[in-house]
Symmetry: C2
Amino acid sequence: MKNKLKIYRAIKNVTQAQLADEIGVSRQSINTIEKGKFVPSTVLALKFARFFEVAVEEIFSLEDND
Amino acid sequence: MKNKLKIYRAIKNVTQAQLADEIGVSRQSINTIEKGKFVPSTVLALKFARFFEVAVEEIFSLEDND
DNA sequence: ATTTTTTGTAAGGTTTACTTTACTTTTAGT
DNA sequence: ACTAAAAGTAAAGTAAACCTTACAAAAAAT
């Protein structure tokens, strides 16, 4: 699965730390999710979508290996 | 987080076992996700959405305690 | 009513998300 | 160039997702 977190973070102009605070996770979680190192839960996906005011599918998308 | 999996399963007329097969998880996973016993990963959420041909937010929604 | 299908639930195990702390590297500001 | 902020990475621990097997309960079919 790939994601556009870095892009949406740039659009909203928030740091990983600020986003972590908004979503309620650690900064490292934001970093590793953003880098695709692990797959976040659906609760987090919904929170990202709500924060960035876009659909979950706009941020996260399936890849062939999923 | 709550979900409408049972409803969408009814609409598409598929059993938990069939859905599990489509999504690529065990039937018990479908059952426990459907009953809200645990939160699926975003990959699973995207797969549910793709299978039911609706947005993730249409199936899964945040609650106050999330 | 009996059989078959579907759903619910439980135990035990493996994998992975997510945490904290902490350090390094990169980017931005002055 | 120096400093500060942001991002990247790592290790070790905890919590939770997801698995398999198995069985009970409920619903549907005949």
